[in-house]
Symmetry: C2
Subunit: 199 residues, 2 copies
């Protein structure tokens, strides 16, 4: 940006802030200027938290959820061992399901989706612990809760193939979620309906 009124260090910060999801130059600029006008205490705290967040947050070694322990709160909760396993793309999606209060089973985070264009297959996702989980947690139903996108559909197909010869009911989220939307922004009611009408 050949803008003489823009200090170099601000341009630099703006470039980094623009990487945040959904943030363009205008929003990043707004954030950067706002940050300059804040207390140093807040800036130091926020800076430290951002630096430390990756180390503070672990991945649950059972389900792939984000946690501060080895195993997340949901996996530790024996009451949730009801034979249901809900497979999601990312840990954020678990939050959405938890908000509905409808689902009482456990989760499994793939950490990505099957994407034929980018040559990502199911084998590259977090599925290694699945066979063990199905046995030890006595899973009888798999709920596929991928985003209603082309990649989500490809992942569904790959998982249906993966579970084909096993004695499992494999369901998909039902009516309620419209093509093209992402789970992260679906409202709670729609998600409840989708859970209830899974097929």
């Amino acid at each position: 940006m050949a803008d003489s009124s823009h200090p170099e260090s601000l341009i630099d910060l703006i470039e980094d802030l623009r990487k945040l999801p959904g943030v363009g130059r205008k929003t990043a600029t707004r954030y950067a200027y706002w940050l300059v006008s804040q207390d140093q205490t807040y800036l130091t705290t926020l800076g430290k938290k951002i630096h430390a967040i990756k180390k503070a947050v672990k991945i649950c070694r059972i389900c792939g959820n984000k946690t501060e322990q080895e195993v997340c709160g949901i996996c530790q909760n024996a009451e949730r061992n009801i034979g249901q396993l809900c497979i999601v793309e990312q840990a954020e999606d678990i939050l959405q399901f938890e908000k509905t209060g409808v689902y009482q089973g456990k989760y499994h985070v793939l950490g990505g989706v099957v994407d034929p264009l980018k040559k990502v297959s199911l084998q590259e996702l977090n599925i290694d612990t699945l066979p063990d989980r199905i046995v030890s947690e006595e899973v009888t139903e798999i709920i596929l809760a991928l985003n209603p996108t082309i990649q989500g559909d490809a992942t569904n197909s790959a998982l249906q193939e993966y579970f084909r010869d096993q004695d499992l009911t494999v369901t998909k989220l039902g009516r309620g979620i419209s093509m093209g939307s992402t789970l992260e922004y679906v409202d709670t009611t729609t998600l409840q309906e989708a859970l209830n009408s899974r097929r």
Copy 2:
């Protein structure tokens, strides 16, 4: 948030990110989860930049603009000494004017607005260097470019009173900016029109 699936350190980061302008819980959560999945290098860099931004960015001792030197690029540029001084609320507003390419004079940043409700008067804003500037920069025209809000109007009135007995043309930004909007988000064309039709 009594959400067992939300690690404490993420809740903590989300609370801090929510303070960013225009950011609610949903966006803050999205940012936080996205940050966790980034490279540690990026997180460390961003954290350091946020921590250091306040020290890196100085306030120009002449006009109040944000700069990395004692005096900002615009104040250093002698070609911009054309007798015009554009008074704005905040340094961000200078960027907007610079983008239009129409204005060739200098700026003065008040760093706030007159607000009768909060008992902020003109004397508490950055006006101490104004008398000296008017003499040394041979200013003949003052352009009042405050936001079209109640506080902006109060600031305009206070400045018109302040300049009353001086041999100066005092103009205000003209047609083009609609009541209730803020300069930061006005498009370039509207701002060009407003500059051209100042009165």
